[in-house]
Symmetry: none
Subunit: 216 residues, 3 copies
């Protein structure tokens, strides 16, 4: 199924820590699974609240980090109004591998999820990967390369995918052997992504015990 | 009526939340309706009052965000002298879709309206779209592409348009089938935009109940 | 064994001070050993915590300095939770020789080690050199030029090497005369690097007296 562009697609095999989420990217050389890593450092004095980004991101992807930051800050207010994490910590978002240029807005939902994962100190499901542009108010916009991204996800052992609702038709048109065995969620707004990414994997009782995303 | 440049022109079909307003843009590929989204995050400690912008804006459009910010802050003082919203919140203005470069000053009135909408926590009319450069004191200046923008607005289901007064002749020269069924307002100063955008849609009693823009 | 690209490979012969660590680089002209130097200045008032970098680093290497900075800050919290070194000092990272352009992510582990060495005020082993990209959470990623780097290390009198685990096969395939007499460690996560670099060289009792890197 093609040559791997990135060699780090199994960097967190078996489950990533809070702040790390697998995204799916798409280049001329094919699809690839790419982790978004966020690290936080508590600011010792007053101040904090900055966001640094690395990983040879182009200007559109760089802007995505800031959209994700603003939206995640806003979203956290809905969940935990008195959680000051984003104001007291300096954040740093990185996309391995550091020498390969990356571009595009399609990591928006992944970046947002990585930031919330860290702020809430909760890992996402171990088997999930996602792609989608996010608007500043949490709308999930369609992206390109659904076929290539699905292939890349399968190659990385992912079984649960989150795609924008606007890409539902693209996915449904894929050949059956590519869709087989995948659990796919189509998101219209970011809360759809959140509910899936932070769901209990095979949880008893169905649904999260006391941790539901508020409706947008 | 031409190919769509943007696919997000129905992102907020049925009405946008406070902070989101539909603008009209014009490129070599035709007109397009484009939302301006503003999100706010309350600063936990002292500080706040910043404005971040994303959406691949060119330098002229970037400057428009700052003109809109200054004018909206000034305008809010007239409405609600003790409203500290702009001083206690970090703001972020975004224009989906994040990967398409955008340029020009014609979103000035739209940006101003989006900022005031958020500060006042009031949505604009669901059926309105607007275009116009704004000066730092609130004068509304004419823009290009009135025909293309009217076509784009119709395509997006918009029925109420706000254009600069300096473009009145451009609109009147359009063929009748393009003008048919549209409610069009021509603005000389920003208050003209405000009165229309925040008017009750089919309000009883004519005019706003207790919320009138002061005269400039 | 080839021409030297850099002439500074014996700059700290006999052992480097805290903040200086030998890395290994690889260019079209061959491998080279290159010191990473970090200097700190205590900030007199509140503030501080900045990182400046010099040495004609390309953008990827420049980003590596920031990844190393964030990770080292985070790591220090695990070791010494109340050590405010990184918040009270302005840091400067330099790679001699200042006129030769350098690029790539493979100095990541070296930079991280130099920063921690300074913050902990502990020198690394005098006989060690290292190479490896670091991710923001401390994963060690494979790099290129293992053969050239091994040759360069031998030329500089280094006897202990730290390579990424992903390069183990590359090293094992080298001819025996290049591997002879070298102590080589393969790192999966940064703690593997730390444990080796700060180990007592021929220490009595085996292992560090009260200074163990916590597990990641």
């Amino acid at each position: 199924v093609g040559k791997r562009v990135f060699t780090s697609d199994r960097l967190y095999e078996g489950g990533a820590p809070p702040g790390v989420v697998m995204g799916l990217s798409w280049t001329a050389m094919g699809g690839a699974s790419l982790y978004i890593e966020v690290q936080s450092v508590r600011h010792k004095s007053s101040g904090g609240g900055t966001l640094t980004s690395t990983g040879q991101m182009g200007s559109v992807m760089e802007e995505s980090t800031r959209i994700a930051h603003t939206f995640a800050r806003r979203k956290l207010e809905d969940f935990q109004a008195d959680n000051a994490f984003f104001d007291t910590h300096d954040l740093h978002m990185h996309v391995p591998e550091g020498s390969i240029p990356k571009e595009g807005p399609s990591a928006g939902v992944t970046m947002t999820t990585a930031l919330l994962s860290l702020a809430l100190n909760r890992s996402v499901r171990a088997d999930v990967a996602m792609t989608g542009e996010i608007s500043l108010t949490g709308k999930v916009l369609p992206v390109g390369g659904i076929k290539e991204k699905t292939i890349a996800a399968r190659r990385s052992g992912v079984t649960c995918l989150i795609f924008p609702h606007g890409n539902k038709k693209d996915f449904e048109e894929l050949p059956g052997y590519l869709k087989e065995g995948l659990e796919v969620h189509f998101a219209t707004v970011y809360n759809d992504v959140f509910d899936c990414a932070f769901a209990e994997e095979s949880g008893g009782g169905g649904g999260s015990g006391g941790f539901l995303a508020p409706k947008e």
